[in-house]
Subunit: 431 residues, 2 copies
């Protein structure tokens, strides 16, 4: 190694992709700055557990500084990125500060997409952040509380109807957890209502849920959900959302479902930083606002600038886009770190990025799941055990594993969800 | 038992007093309605751990419905009490609903007191609710983040100065935890600042901290705090608080301490419900807004109406008021339940309430505490072990004990505080 550790790598976003990129650069002679507007990494695959009162936010969050504390070449910056100057090679932060870079990795992720109906967001929250999860948790448990106090039976029905929009893994996990809450968790908790009477609808536009899975697993997942009391509506679109009902359309048939709790798991859209990076209005993005990148994940015309994770889509019209899951982001983070390492060391670039799919899984309630490892497909209890094992193993890297495991075991045995706090945004001194 | 279970007991507040009263009435032939504006009981003695990132809110909260789920004569109502009609014997809820009662137990607790400077509340939050704790947690960890980014050394000093106002148990616990955060938790986390340089001031108006403890234990507590880097200022009053500094007065000497983080643990004031109960402006309250009650904890002139816990003060000019701690509230809850039980069963009333003091304790950082059992006084590590044991035993009743214990053991070994999330009040869809 003859070069000094002077080249600067700026990573925007401390999710799975950004954090993995930072860690993979630990032996590369560069200075790494990880910028995030939050001070923690979030284990998003378990966020639905926070939204449904099974885990606390602290159980699935790891302070970024803590994860990188012993990595001497890494600095964490709590800041919001507001712009990029790719010609002058710097990143603009809120407040006016600029960070120079030699290499830039943008891993800013995605947010919800309401397909043009942004007003629905206030009524039907999506699940991306800790705040979203706490908001959803409050809505779910408050609906039962309000139903207990409701005098009007029509209002009670609205309050006890939960609509989950979108039959992907998040929608399936939310609906399954809701089924469990209504049938198990709250079983003996109320005196005037029977929580088991709650209606839970999972609405999916395609002909089956979990479309990225083999058809057999979709069917098994649907059956598991139905056993938990969830009504699965496929080939059904949501056409309107308001505070007391949802309009759904199946074929030519539109009907209104009275429901006060609507959860949105239907679509994602690339972070606004993608547009800022490639210039809004310019080409360079797909319809979902994701940034088109070269096969080595670099931005066309800007070598040394990379986009990874959910925000990136490899510009290869023939191939299927990669799923928006943690393993893709992590493999991309590791890959880009390798590209940078080899460039810094003046070695030949590696072969284009290729995703190695080790399998995917989704869980349904407290003892069922579907898992597709390609060579092996599981459903029901064995899939759930596999899901539990994989997620605990993954959590170990961010050292919350023991706690989460205990919490889970506890919830499993007691059928309780201790973290079902209804909190507000006000401090007691404000009251 | 010849009476039918028709008499109605309404309990306002699900803290230690109210919840204990509800549980103690489980075999009494009455219907019990517990009203709280939150859906959970909070284990307040550990709230400072949430405020300092050691535990998550879910770890110290128990859903009230869950605690009372198998108590058939008890109903939980999530509602806000806005008034009382003691003549007609009913309680008014926000929204207009009224709850009739034969017996009423008001256990609404206390909030912060800024001694007439209510504007300080926005700058110097107190610690009573989960939201307070999360606000304080955000302020503490954000201050270190901002200091890391500060370019101006004066601003950096302001950001790294923490003032805790009030040297009672809460103030001592907060200051001790701050010392530990600065010296241990964040030790390797920053690159530009040394968190160990943080100044932590504990300001107390009296001549010593922990005035309710024997003098020897106060001295030992002060020494333990000083070992954690806390500066203890006794005989010192806070005369002004603004966003960038605090004015403190010792004797005739007033000086300004530049500090952006000020935590308030100086005084409490009875819940506003106390005033509503006895009629604001009337006598019937002490100077701190606590309700004066008869020796059997009933309201003068209103038999069957009781006030317990922090909100109550027994009208007995000769005696010392009871401390505002959980054991007092719990014993009072149990006592009032007994009064009601004996009245319902037409037995003679019990002897006036007498508090049995089994001891008091306060913890300082991760391995020191003071404990006063009357017959035994402990400090340092043995006191900390006693503190740990007692608090875990107490938590068992609300079944979070296992988790909290694991979390503590984990924090103790790793010196980490995993729950140090900086969260905002906005959902991601709002952005």
């Amino acid at each position: 190694m003859t070069r000094t550790a002077s080249e600067q790598v700026v990573i925007v976003g401390g999710g799975f992709g950004g954090l993995m990129a930072a860690r993979s650069l630990r032996r590369t002679p560069v200075r790494v700055t990880l910028v995030d507007r939050r001070n923690f990494h979030l284990f998003q695959p378990l966020l639905y557990q926070v939204a449904t009162g099974g885990l606390s936010p602290g159980d699935i969050a790891s302070p970024l500084r803590h994860v990188l504390k012993y990595q001497k070449n890494a600095t964490v910056l709590l800041a919001e990125v507001t712009g990029f100057d790719l010609e002058k090679r710097n990143v603009l932060l809120r407040g006016g500060e600029r960070l120079d870079f030699d290499y830039l990795i943008v891993a800013a992720g995605v947010s919800h997409d309401y397909f043009g109906h942004d007003g629905w967001g206030r009524i039907a929250p999506g699940l991306k952040s800790v705040e979203d999860a706490i908001d959803i948790r409050t809505r779910i448990f408050l609906a039962f509380e309000k139903a207990e106090r409701a005098v009007d039976s029509e209002e009670q029905e609205e309050l006890l109807t939960f609509v989950v929009v979108g039959g992907g893994p998040t929608g399936v996990e939310l609906a399954g957890a809701l089924g469990e809450i209504a049938r198990e968790t709250l079983r003996h908790d109320f005196r005037r209502i029977n929580p088991g009477d709650a209606r839970i609808l999972l609405v999916e536009g395609a002909s089956r849920i979990l479309t990225s899975y083999p058809e057999l697993l979709s069917r098994k997942a649907q059956r598991s959900l139905e056993r938990l009391g969830v009504t699965v509506l496929t080939n059904t679109l949501v056409t309107s959302v308001n505070e007391r009902s949802v309009d759904i359309k199946a074929g030519d048939n539109i009907r209104s479902v009275p429901a006060q709790t609507v959860l949105w798991a239907a679509g994602v859209r690339g972070s606004g930083l993608g547009g800022i990076l490639v210039g809004n209005g310019r080409s360079g993005m797909d319809r979902a606002g994701r940034v088109l990148v070269n096969p080595d994940l670099s931005l066309p015309d800007f070598p040394g600038v990379f986009v990874i994770g959910d925000l990136a889509v490899v510009n290869n019209p023939g191939s299927k886009p990669l799923p928006g899951v943690a393993p893709v982001a992590m493999q991309q983070g590791r890959y880009v770190a390798r590209v940078i390492d080899r460039t810094v060391r003046r070695k030949s670039p590696p072969a284009p990025f290729r995703y190695r799919n080790y399998g995917s899984m989704a869980t349904i309630g407290r003892a069922a799941a579907v898992a597709d490892f390609g060579w092996l497909r599981l459903s029901g209890y064995p899939a759930w055990l596999a899901w539990l094992f994989v997620h605990l193993m993954k959590l170990v890297e961010f050292e919350n594993r023991v706690l989460v495991f205990i919490q889970w075991a506890w919830n499993y045995v007691t059928k309780n969800r201790g973290a079902r706090l209804i909190t507000s945004e006000h401090r007691s001194s404000d009251r």
